[in-house]
């Protein structure tokens, strides 16, 4: 059990974070961008819980990850409402079409 330690979990969290960032940057589908945000928050959660086990953080890390999960659910609800509104106005979910505010 000593073979994994903190570094393995931090590596998994880093992979999740980077995949989320790439997903946010490259997807043109609005729902895909939302999935990238979920991946980023999930990577942060892995780091929180890993530090709660292996560091001196204790239960605080788990409670922080609980708050992150709840905020991610709230963010998904609001962002989905915005995406539906965008689809009603543009008849497409392509985020490159939202150019009304471009100067």
């Amino acid at each position: 059990m000593e073979s994994i330690g903190l570094t393995g979990y931090l590596g998994v969290g880093a992979v999740l974070f980077v995949c989320g960032v790439i997903c946010m940057a490259t997807k043109r589908n609005g729902i895909g961008v939302l999935m990238g945000v979920e991946l980023v928050l999930n990577g942060a959660n892995v780091n929180f819980v890993a530090f709660s086990k292996f560091g001196t953080l204790g239960l605080d890390g788990q409670i922080a990850s609980l708050f992150v999960i709840v905020l991610a659910a709230a963010e998904a609800a609001v962002a989905l409402a915005i995406a539906l509104n965008f689809y009603n106005n543009h008849l497409s979910i392509d985020v490159d079409r939202g150019t009304e505010l471009k100067g």
């Binding site: 998994v12 999740l16 979920e38 239960l59 788990q62 409670i63 009603n88 979910i93």
Partner: protein, 205 residues
């Protein structure tokens, strides 16, 4: 055994995230997102955080992904199901992401976590992972402590310093409950049905 389980679920989580990036079909992206999030919940169970793992399964896999799939169903009509990114953008993002991942992994590898933790333990006393009743191997019952901490009481005090009371989380709990109420009202307000399509301007709205 724990190493095997970590390798299994860690590879499933990372591979699911990579497949979310690589797929262009939104429904398949949602499926791989479910794989990645469920594997992350199993990693949480492996870390002894049973309540956080259960909440991850319930809210993320059961709630958020279902919400995203509803969004896919409501917004994907015919030709807009697949929206390709140009290959130049993908190549650029992969190069930048690879550099970013290399930076993160190098940073994690270069920090000496054991020495850091021993320094922290010398300064603040024993880590909570060493406390009796917290998160021991094979125990992992954190539900009672988390529930008490969310209501402002802490039962997982440091046995070496019983006078040093950790703060509870009553105020963040209240703030987040108000936040959820505001989000509920705001989402219902934003997503309310109003027909303002550009092709139906002449019809009655």
């Amino acid at each position: 055994m724990e190493t095997f389980l970590f390798l299994l679920f860690g590879l499933a989580a990372a591979g699911g995230a990579v497949m979310v990036v690589l797929n262009q079909d939104v429904v398949r992206m949602a499926f791989w997102l479910i794989v990645s999030l469920a594997s992350t919940a199993c990693l949480f169970f492996l870390l002894g955080a049973d309540f956080v793992g259960a909440v991850q399964l319930l809210i993320y896999v059961g709630g958020t992904v279902v919400l995203l799939i509803f969004g896919v169903m409501l917004t994907s009509s015919g030709p807009y199901l697949r929206i390709k990114s140009s290959p130049g953008e993908v190549l650029q993002a992969v190069v930048v992401g690879g550099l970013f991942l290399g930076m993160l992994v190098l940073t994690v590898m270069q920090v000496d976590w054991d020495r850091h933790e021993s320094r922290l333990q010398a300064e603040y006393g024993g880590g909570p992972a060493n406390d009796v009743g917290y998160n021991q191997q094979g125990e992992g019952s954190t539900v009672r402590n988390i529930g008490a901490a969310l209501l402002g009481a802490r039962f997982d005090a440091d046995p070496q310093h019983p006078d040093r009371v950790k703060p509870g989380y009553l105020l963040p709990f209240e703030i987040i409950s108000m936040h959820l109420l505001v989000v509920l009202i705001g989402a219902a307000y934003i997503a309310r049905a109003k027909r303002k399509r550009p092709d139906s301007q002449s019809s009655s709205s």
